[in-house]
Amino acid sequence: MPYFDHAATTPMLPEAVAAMTAQLAVTGNASALHAAGRRARRAVEEGRETLAAALGARPSEVVFTSGGTEADNLAVKGLYWARRDADPRRVRVLASPVEHHAVLDVVQWLADHEGARVEWLPVDAVGRVHPDALREAIERDPADMALVTVMWANNEIGTVFPVAELAAVAREYGIPMHADAVQAVGQLEVDFAASGLAALSLSGHKIGGPYGIGALLLGREWTPVPVLHGGGQEREVRSGTLDVPAVVGFATAARLAVAGRADYARVIGGLRDELIAAVRAEVPDAVLGGDPDPAGRLPGNAHFAFPGCEGDSLLLLLDAQGIECSTGSACTAGVAQPSHVLLATGADPELARGTLRFSLGHTTTRADVEAVAKAIGPAVARARTAGLS
């Protein structure tokens, strides 16, 4: 069955399943001092080291969380609170308007409940924030800056951001910058040390690891105020007994995803280009979302708007033929609404209603791409008959 929703979740790598299941039957709280605890701790710390090595971080910079959403919450809320505690003037948050809801809604919450002054950074037609725009925004008053948060790559339209350049600007002013790299890890070269970021979020199940685990890579000079208080695990920044099997599965997946990244990007990027070409051949007026330059987008992302179509109608018609894709972010798919990402790029709201995101991953085959090529033309024709309700 052609599965084109790897950006929502991707199948676990068999090695990660094996490593994780081997841990499931073993007892041990990684905070305990006895033999079982030591054994668990060893597995966790080896996982931490593996993950750190794969992502250019130090082991002490890895804070395990329950997933990408928690990592984003910890970074954005925690750094905001810590910065404001150190200097009450620091209430300004700069964020891109195309963030995932796990950042977008957190930033908005800080504005609504914690006195944050939010400025949404300008983006270009492919949704990208430029370093000059960031500098200009900071320059308005560097003293009132709490933090900057800009994603590494966009989950809907696949646009890659110049994260290192943005982080360099923030660093000049001593302002911490966080990046949601949930979509980037395993697809792009992600090196935490080289990035100059203060904090970076990633998620297990997006890279072939298990659900329910993620990590915040957190520079050692930064101490966010915790969101979860308790036993003081994870640098006293994130309390809670660690999920040893998940840590091991996550670390295994991260190691493999990073090691195989170059081949993956070449093969999957090639299939993605074929998919884009096929869709454009079948539906000449389809509008490619995001950066048309393959170097500027995630290798697994193809995003289209189909004029005169409802995205939900297309989803239904393709689903009926076994093709699984998404209209964009899975979190907004309950009720069809134009995506905030497309609207931020200045897209026509009518056009933004008829989008499909095909996200490829490690199980995608050429036969999958051919299935889409065969189905997309008739599906779009039919969806156009149904129109925009």
Binding site: D105, D312, G334, V335, A336, Q337, A383, T385
Partner: protein, 389 residues
Amino acid sequence: MNEFPGAPSGPRTGPRLRVLAAMSGGVDSAVAAARAVEAGHEVTGVHLALSANPQSFRTGARGCCTIEDSRDARRAADVIGIPFYVWDLAERFRQDVVEDFIAEYRAGRTPNPCLRCNEKIKFAALLDKALALGFDAVCTGHYATVVTAADGHRQLHRATDLAKDQSYVLGVLDERQLAHALFPLGDTRTTKEEIRAEAERRGLAVAKKPDSHDICFIADGDTQGFLSGHLGSAEGDILDEDGRKVGSHQGAHGFTIGQRKGLRIGHPAPDGKPRYVLDISPVNNTVTVGPAEALDITALTAIRPRWCGAAPEGPGDYTAQLRAHGAETPVSAEMDGDTLRVRFTEPVRGVAPGQAIVLYDGTRVVGSATIAATERAVTTLAPVTSAGG
């Protein structure tokens, strides 16, 4: 009996249809969808999002009851094993049902929004979109039967179990709409308890969910509050049949013809008998009250006829139903231009302009029309018309 392809119980006899099952989140529509699957059809579930909250920051947020209903519907669809979508028909619903409801009350009439919804939403907006997307029929949990007559025409009949019959609210469907309607609950003699037991057997969690009775878009059930919110409140006079002021009210839209309670008239009528609302005049913002016998009507005219098949030619004898779950009463009826003229064999009481009259020939639904004016048995008052407003 029901010759519709794929009669709901027993093995399928007709072609396999592509069926779109409207799933409200209640038990009836869930069992109906399950029966359509069992009859061999290819079924897709859809929940209609009918109220939108455009002010909300998060796109697609709706009232909590609606979201809960949507989840219940999705859970039922998952158990049945069919694809499930939420279609946002909020704007169409607002225009065609809610605005109409308010306008009718503004004009002093008493509308039935359920008929309106069936005519304009479920078997128009939804059906049209379904047909365009390649579906053959829309399936709902209504208790009514569709029969293909010897001449090949579709007929709408009362449910086999008259106590459950809902053909009244479907009396607005024309033959084309009926040709694409599937009511799997209509031809089985099952009590509500048996439907609940069937849902339980099928593992549907909605088995124990309470029935909904109120107007779905007035979440708190406070129709008067809803109308006051839209139409405002302005004090006006309550008059007796001779035009003498006997009390005051806070808005004529708060009253329905035949209403007895809530008049708050300080002193009793001269004859000591209870008084009822006889007439509502939105133009003067007056409400006229009088004795019960003044409510008796012997004839009425109705507009906007909708025929569930061929329009009747010449005068004919039928039975009529004037409200959901109301009793049948014998009438003679005929068309006069675009107006339906109805004469009652025995006087009937408490008929309000705006209500639907549904005509039956035996169990067959002939059609419906919207009551425009009534003719009183006791003619102390001018005829009640809906012209004011």
